[in-house]
């Protein structure tokens, strides 16, 4: 299975994608837990891309590829004024948010816990591509 979604950089566009990812992965793997993980990763990556990446009427592209034993989720944004570089974000992955802070648990805790690999790359035209790999 190889499916991609391209959505406007608007947080209201994300929930239908999250639900679609969950439905597709559960159909493909028959594993509700893995499907929930994939949906949550898709949600967190898309919302990060919208908040820190593709602002100003940009787009976010999410791709799901399933192979035997793996699900690869890739989220690509177009960049914006607040975009951090891949090196900076990779560093943040190894840090923990403070106990009572509201932000900072998506990538550093949840996406990391549900995946076997997270890769962050700078795009040539600006923005970031984050690839997350789930083993199942």
């Amino acid at each position: 299975m190889n499916i991609s979604f391209t959505i406007p950089a608007d947080k209201k566009e994300v929930p239908p994608v999250r639900l679609a990812v969950e439905e597709l992965v559960v159909k493909k793997t028959a594993d509700k837990k893995v499907a929930f993980h994939a949906a949550m990763i898709a949600d967190e990556l898309c919302n990060n891309a919208i908040e820190y990446g593709s602002k100003q009427a940009g787009k976010v592209r999410l791709s799901i590829t399933t192979t035997k034993g793996h699900i690869q989720i890739t989220c690509e944004d177009e960049g914006g004024e607040t975009t951090v570089r891949a090196q900076e974000l990779s560093k943040k992955l190894s840090q923990s948010p403070s106990a009572s802070s509201i932000r900072g648990r998506g990538l550093t805790k949840i996406v990391k816990a549900f995946t076997s690999l997270v890769q962050i790359q700078n795009n040539k035209k600006g923005g970031l591509t984050i690839t997350a790999l789930i083993k199942h």
Binding site: P15, M40, I102, G104, K109, I110
Partner: protein, 119 residues
């Protein structure tokens, strides 16, 4: 926008106690708005507020929603209050566990246990 309902009611037998029942999908499209209700309640009750979060029909909770729970817990701890989570589904429990929140907020599986934890 995802569908979510946040209902607040007095918790009988618990001084300054309130039940907060959250149903549906709590995500980036609605959590900032819905969280205002909890902050207003915390402001209104002040010291010693006790909140019972009933997640029986909560289907989804994103990382920011978890962050709000951590913030409310911090505010309640400072104000000599308390909070407890009850009836969380397995996937919600997993998220709470992954971020380590289940070790700082009491999570129980029945309303009786939740009320006892707040007394």
């Amino acid at each position: 926008m995802s569908k979510v309902t946040v209902a607040i009611s007095a918790l009988s037998g618990v001084d300054k106690g309130h039940t907060i029942t959250i149903s549906g999908q709590l995500d980036e499209t609605n959590v900032d708005n819905e969280s205002k209700k909890i902050y207003e309640l915390l402001e209104k009750e002040g010291e010693g507020a006790k909140l019972l979060f009933n997640f029986k029909d909560l289907k989804y909770m994103n990382s920011k929603s978890v962050g709000y729970l951590a913030d409310w817990h911090g505010k309640l701890a400072k104000a000599k209050g308390n909070m407890v989570i009850v009836n969380a589904a397995d996937n919600i429990m997993e998220v709470l566990s992954v971020v380590g929140l289940d070790s700082i907020i009491e999570v129980v599986d029945s309303m009786d246990k939740a009320k006892k934890a707040l007394k």
